[in-house]
Symmetry: C2
């Protein structure tokens, strides 16, 4: 790791959803520093599901820390032992009751590399369909989800342009999907 | 806030760089839940500096939680009492020793809305110039920065396509800037 040395790692906080660790680190210049890391090692997925009619479903979801609703693509954490594509498939099924024919990786990115080691994978889900009709509100986080609505991709790009899509992972997934389409056109 | 009621807020962890709070919340369906929020209220900026020759400087920066280097645009936290554009100007100066003629807001987004209320603002800095030659390594986080290099925008788009730019905020800033250029062309 390029002459950065970890002397020790100490867990300083633990909670159901996250952990905090403080490392003692020696930098390449020989300075000893403390480095705070959040929930290290946990990865997640965001999925762009393409329904058989070409539309894309978005979730209108209440996000308590912002006290408001956002339009978002489905996604969530990758479970222990799960491959990213398996996490994408499971999350899509759990969150939207959608199954798809094919999962294609569009890219990955670091969400907040200064504070955590989190990597988010973006998948395209082709041939997606609601398996029980649109999602029923019958599980734990259902109260956060106000509605699921389908949009054409040009409608979604318009929403991005108007600032109506404001969540990091959803924005990147849309933009990676646009680049994927442009590459296919060439 | 759409029938979501906060009953209480309890700070459960405090550190130099972040705080954790746990709220007791009543959802619209009347269920009482605990909600964990991270470093609420802190915002940040990412800046796309356009040098007089049209090139864009990127930082090659070591990110300890990932144990590797990333190419990134400059940016950082907005200080208390600072407006986002002021934060963009200060961060650009501090991090890269760059001053610019004009700061234009390109957009904003929520970085991780499920866990924090953080908003990241993206600014374009037109007429940017290094005020003391390229940045000297003379402040605290200098050891994280390996080099500063300038690229044309097509070179940067190529890096995005090849997966060589992998940080959320930098990716979104590049993509918002591309949309800004496309709108200007119309």
């Amino acid at each position: 790791m390029d002459n950065w040395k970890t002397l020790s790692t100490k867990q300083i906080f633990k909670h159901r959803y996250l952990t905090l660790e403080e490392d003692s680190v020696v930098t390449p210049k020989g300075r000893k520093i403390k480095y705070l890391c959040l929930g290290r090692g946990v990865s997640s997925v965001t999925v762009v599901p393409i329904l058989k009619d070409g539309k894309i479903p978005l979730i209108y979801q209440f996000r308590y820390p912002h006290k408001k609703y956002f339009w978002e693509l489905p996604g969530g954490r990758i479970d222990d032992g799960e491959k990213p594509a398996e996490g994408a498939e499971r999350e899509l099924k759990e969150e939207m009751q959608i199954e798809a024919d094919k999962f294609i990786k569009l890219g990955s990115f670091a969400t907040a590399p200064g504070i955590d080691g989190h990597v988010k994978y973006v998948f395209l889900a082709e041939g997606a369909k609601f398996v029980n009709g649109p999602r029923k509100n019958d599980h734990d986080d259902s109260e956060f989800i106000q509605e699921v609505k389908t949009f054409t991709f040009p409608e979604i790009l318009k929403m991005v342009e108007k600032g109506e899509i404001q969540v990091s992972a959803t924005l990147i997934a849309i933009l990676l999907y646009r680049d994927y389409l442009n590459r296919k056109k060439k």
